[in-house]
Amino acid sequence: MTINEAIGAFLIFTGSLFYVLSSLGLIRMPDVYNRMQTATKSATLASLGVMIGVGIYSPCCFPKALVIALFLLLTNPISAHALIRAAYRSGIPLWEGSIVDKYKEALKEEGEQ
């Protein structure tokens, strides 16, 4: 095993670990908003780790993996944002333990104008 392969394997392993954590978060969190938090963040870092890991494992593909990682980084938060906004707009309530909801006030003000 060369040093490249060791680093690559380590990154892929870390990425997979974050995948596991994010799916665990889907089960443990109380409402759709908190689930999105764990699902999007961990999945982005996990994908990033796996892509860079693959790139380092086989150096021929490194630039390609880098570009794919970059596009993931650009597009993943946008889809997350679209999902969470759609969830709010379709009336899914926040968890009862939530302490503040400024967005509701903003939407109400907008409705009155």
Partner: protein
């Protein structure tokens, strides 16, 4: 700062497309280079109007320097975000304290606001729900300060000083 000239916007688009082509094909074969160059010229002609507003001035050394400095800062924030979320998921009592807060940003440029919202989504316990004018609505998994000023300071400020330079926000 107004829009750059058409030539500069066109050239900038060609350069970016060609660099992406270089990374994707991963070869310096003359045939590949020629094909990529021709395709970059054609695609840039079709898309430069929506692709960029400031043209070649995006490649100003100061902006590139800030972009390069932003990447490790952002990656570090992202790794901390993940460890934080992992801690909350694994902790038996599930220590979350969620809510949607409002923050104010000084950025005026649309793309800068997009990158700010994306960065917020990917960093500790925060996720953008909506943008209205200069207000961002953020779902925060552990609300430390529900007021407008406090939340802005916690969430938005660290990124803004980078983004202001990178995206020509001179206000």
């Amino acid at each position: 700062m107004g829009e750059a000239s058409k030539v500069s916007r066109y050239l900038y688009t060609v350069i970016i497309l060609f660099v992406i082509w270089l990374f994707l094909t991963n070869s310096l074969d003359p045939q590949e280079l020629t094909m990529g160059f021709v395709l970059s010229l054609i695609i840039a002609a079709l898309t430069y109007q929506v692709f960029t507003k400031y043209g070649l001035s995006n490649l100003h050394p100061k902006r590139i320097l800030y972009t390069v400095a932003y990447i490790p800062y952002f990656l570090w924030a992202m790794i901390m975000a993940n460890l934080d979320v992992a801690y909350r998921v694994l902790h038996p009592k599930r220590p979350i304290n969620p809510g949607i807060v409002e923050i104010k940003t000084n950025l005026t440029n649309d793309i800068a606001k997009l990158v700010l919202a994306n960065s917020i989504t990917l960093t500790p316990g925060t996720m953008s729900v909506d943008v209205k004018g200069d207000r961002l609505y953020i779902h925060w998994i552990d609300v430390k300060d529900p007021s407008l000023e406090g939340a802005s300071k916690h969430i938005g400020k660290p990124f803004e000083k980078f983004l202001r330079v990178i995206f020509h926000d001179d206000n």
